[in-house]
């Protein structure tokens, strides 16, 4: 009989990183499914992960660019040569005193990612998807009630009581960005009698299951929630006892003064939700035993900070913090530091790679990651000289793709690239690869060791999980973490004195009395225990400077941002007659956005088991006005870019909006390059050079950009 067993590990087809089991038979992964010790689910992307692992398109050897950047021509080299190229350039950079001109773009799989350690040792910066996605939300919650949620801290849907209200505001949890258990948990809560309210300009799966769908004008969420706050506060429907006890003195009075003119009628004009519906939703929330707000995508508005602030205020005045069915507030379990710890760069002194017109005003942001990422400007202004990227696809994921490409190929007077070295680790061919000088073959989650540690995961039953190799690596692939540890050993032996990644993780785990061995024996996951509720009551304080909830952001007083604006920044409001449509870019469960590994996955791009088309969605009312028929090729143009796409007419989308899926547009890889689809970032303006107000008020302009449609 052949050997066959289920091995616990972790999925990495998307950033939710669900705990899974892999069935390995005779050294080959045959099947995968959710780990029953965790919350037991795995989504379609994860299921298709085996296709990523074995695809003949896998990059198997280090590649070095020949020819110009953008041509996509490479020769195979050995790992030694690749390591030498990186070491030589980085040493030279440090010698010039420009270590901070090194940036690594990655998604740290834990707060203790070894790649991040390398960046700190080098004195460089890390940039993650966060500046694009959820810095604004993190900062909003951090400022207001001192907890560190990000989009992974979805409400714990399994705690929502009967009658509880679950609000999804521009959020598609059925796409499984939090954990694959979430769709089930939301539907279970519904069956228990909780109510699902979906606020979204596009009618999607979540809306189809909702008790109430509210098709909002994109970017109107802050206005909608401020309108609700106005109604609750002026009618005395807010949780007075909670506010009296926990809100900093003076803040309620300040809020009352601020909210006075944010009436449902006034806010309705901005968000295009009827005033009576704003009142109805407010009253529904006031009467409910719990309200949760899940809003990931909607923080990608041009006013993400305001929206995060408005939403935080709403949670506070309805008393929905750390209660069953409300906003969880995770605790951080202490991992042990791996001494000696390399110090991070001094942001106060060096500043961010921020070169736009509002540079000075950025000093107000206290977050350790850049509020927004300005790759193109940084290259242009000489503050980015060496760029590494892993598990991201900046050629498609950066706002302003055109400017990004230009920056990559920008040369100085002597004909050298301004960006001196660009290194990319990649599992599959990617669009970004075309511009890289070195392309290093990375490993899938089935081939690598990794300690995943996300304190907020405890919402899903664990905080740490171990990804372990279940099969031999394909070709000469090496996991990016190992590559950076090796480079660290060469360049900074004092900070990389441990044996390898596994020993590094072991030291970290000792902080919680665990080890890799113990983790594996326990099913590859670890949980600190139960989540607990209303922990601020036991602590007697919130984790803010005053110990109270701080509704007014006093530190932003001098940039006029102590209270949230209901409006989008000016650049998204002007030129409305020239660009009458609002671009709504959205996600699907079938793709990890621009991730080259999912775009190149045959099962995920198969029309039966995935998605293979990305037309621009238009409402038939708009199409009729413009004389556009279903399937017609149209030009979608913003003030900074344009794409040609077939139009798909559907009742799903709110008139005045144009919808496209985020993540298409690859020209590399046999699977990913199928069809003449386009990347949405061709249309979205590059923040540093084109936007003035937006970059101070947060996030990416994914759901705010104005476009026009012509045949």
């Amino acid at each position: 009989m052949s050997e066959s067993k289920w091995i616990p590990t972790v999925c990495y087809q998307c950033k939710a990183e669900c705990a899974i089991l892999a069935r390995v038979e005779d050294g080959v992964v045959r099947e995968v499914k959710g780990n029953p010790r965790a919350r037991g689910k795995m989504c379609v992307k994860g299921m298709a992960g085996i296709t990523t692992l074995y695809s003949q398109e896998r990059l198997k050897h280090p590649l070095k660019r020949v020819g110009e950047r953008g041509e996509g021509k490479f020769v195979r080299i050995g790992w030694d040569e690749a390591m030498n190229i990186m070491e030589t350039k980085l040493r030279e950079l440090r010698k010039r005193g420009e270590g901070h001109k090194f940036t690594y773009s990655m998604f740290p799989h834990s707060t203790t990612d070894p790649k991040w350690r390398f960046v700190n040792a080098m004195g460089g910066f890390i940039t993650t998807g966060l500046p694009h996605c959820d810095s604004a939300k993190i900062m909003a919650h951090l400022h207001t009630f001192g907890c560190f949620p990000n989009h992974h801290i979805a409400p714990m849907y399994y705690t929502v009581p009967k009658g509880g209200v679950m609000i999804l505001s521009g959020r598609h949890p059925f796409g499984c960005l939090d954990d694959a258990c979430v769709p089930r948990d939301i539907l279970d809560a519904k069956e228990r009698g909780a109510k699902l309210v979906v606020i979204d300009p596009i009618f999607r799966t979540e809306a189809a299951k909702a008790d109430w769908w509210i098709p909002i004008r994109p970017g109107g969420d802050a206005a909608l929630f401020l309108g609700m706050c106005n109604h609750l506060l002026t009618k005395g429907l807010h949780d007075k006892a909670f506010c009296d006890k926990w809100v900093r003195e003076g803040d309620m009075a300040g809020l009352m003064a601020f909210i006075k003119n944010k009436t449902p009628a006034a806010m309705s004009k901005i968000c295009d939700v009827p005033a009576r519906d704003i009142v109805k939703l407010a009253e529904m929330c006031a009467a409910a035993p719990s309200v949760s707000v899940d809003a990931f995508k909607s923080i990608m508005y041009g006013n993400a900070m305001d929206w995060g602030h408005a939403w935080s205020i709403f949670l506070v005045i309805t008393g929905n913090l750390d209660n069953p069915g409300g906003q969880p507030m995770p605790e951080i379990a202490p991992m042990a530091p791996v001494a000696p710890v390399p110090p991070p760069p001094n942001l106060k002194e060096l500043g961010y790679h921020r070169t736009g017109p509002n540079r000075a005003r950025f000093d107000h942001y206290t977050f350790f990651l850049q509020p927004t990422w300005y790759a193109a400007q940084a290259v242009r202004e000489g503050t980015l000289k060496v760029f590494f990227a892993s598990e991201c696809n900046p050629a498609l994921s950066e706002m302003g793709s055109g400017e990004w490409r230009e920056a990559m190929t920008l040369k100085d007077r002597s004909g050298n690239y301004a960006l001196e070295l660009f290194v990319l680790t990649e599992i599959m061919p990617s669009e970004t690869m075309k511009w890289a000088d070195l392309v290093l073959p990375d490993q899938t989650n089935f081939e690598r060791w990794e300690l995943l540690y996300m304190p907020w995961w405890y919402n899903f039953g664990h905080t740490a999980a171990v990804c372990q190799p279940v099969v031999k690596p394909v070709g000469e692939s090496r996991h990016a973490n190992r590559v950076m540890i090796d480079l660290g050993k060469r360049m900074f032996p004092e900070f990389f004195a441990f044996k390898d990644d596994v020993e590094y993780y072991d030291i970290e785990l000792s902080g919680i009395g665990m080890s890799m061995r113990k983790m594996l024996d326990g099913g590859a996951i670890w949980s600190p225990g139960t989540v607990g509720f209303r922990k601020y009551e036991d602590a007697g304080r919130f984790n803010t400077p005053s110990g109270k909830i701080e509704l007014e952001w006093k530190m932003y007083g001098d940039i006029g941002q102590q209270w949230p604006s209901p409006e989008l920044p000016l650049e998204f409001r002007r030129d409305a007659d020239k660009y009458p449509f609002i671009l709504v870019n959205f996600r699907t469960i079938f793709l990890n956005n621009t991730g080259a590994w999912s775009q190149n996955n045959a099962q995920l791009r198969d029309p039966v088991s995935g998605i293979d088309a990305n037309p621009v969605l238009l409402n038939p009312v708009d199409a009729a006005r413009l004389g556009i028929a279903d399937g017609d090729m149209v030009t979608v143009a913003s003030s900074t870019g344009s794409v040609r796409l077939p139009a798909s007419l559907t009742e799903r989308i709110k008139p005045g909006c144009a919808g496209i899926i985020h993540g298409f547009g690859q020209t590399m890889g046999k699977v990913a390059s199928r069809g003449a689809w386009a990347g949405d970032n061709e249309l979205i303006a590059d923040a540093g050079s084109h936007l003035d107000e937006q970059d101070l008020r947060g996030g990416e302009a994914h759901v705010s950009t104005r476009v026009k449609i012509t045949k």
Binding site: R184, T205, A208, F590, Q603, E651, K654, R674
Partner: protein, 185 residues
């Protein structure tokens, strides 16, 4: 005859296609190395229906697999006698040894669910995970369904469960052995 079945709950199916890929993995339907979109066998497919006009819309999703027909047209179509309906379980099975690869069943199946393996020249389809259910396990799709929209059991018992949960049988879709239900309201 006992009829094993799957009950599809339209209140829960979100059309995520997880079941399709898990089924392919379990039954080895994909050559992961060379797979290209549009060329892969599949034992299930997702269907959906959007009704209404903006902003009053409704949409349902469900999956279609072999319906384990009561009087299977595929059996009648097969001259080689390769298809039978198992008396113990009501599962319609294709005997790969006897299958001549004529493709006659594929044309006659009203649900378009029979797949053809061009290399081995044989017809194949969902057999309700016969390999698993005879060992007391659920079919793969039922186990992995992201939304817990599928339930496995005897058709008769599933119907009682639906009734107890206040779900109504969608008669038009449930004429064969697979059941489709939705909240009665």
């Amino acid at each position: 005859m006992k009829q094993l079945s799957i009950m599809v709950d339209l209140d829960r199916c979100i059309g995520c296609k997880t079941c399709i890929v898990a089924c392919r993995n379990h039954h080895g339907l994909v050559n992961h190395e060379t797979a290209m979109p549009e060329g892969m066998s599949h034992y299930l497919r997702v269907e959906s229906e959007l009704t209404g006009t903006f902003p009053r819309l409704a949409e349902d999703y469900w999956v279609v697999m072999c319906q384990q027909c009561k009087k299977p047209p595929c059996i009648k179509a097969c001259a080689a006698g390769a298809i039978t309906k198992d008396a113990q379980t009501g599962i319609v099975r294709i005997d790969r040894e006897k299958c001549t690869g004529s493709g006659a069943c594929i044309e006659k199946c009203p649900y378009g669910v029979i797949q053809f393996n061009a290399e081995g020249r044989f017809a194949h389809k969902c057999e309700l995970c016969h390999d698993r259910v005879v060992h007391g396990q659920e079919p793969v799709c039922v186990e992995v369904c992201l939304a817990d929209a599928l339930r496995f059991g005897e058709r008769e018992i599933l119907q009682m469960q639906a009734e107890a949960a206040g779900k109504k049988l969608l008669k038009k879709r449930s004429t064969q052995s697979i059941l489709y239900v939705k909240r009665a309201d």
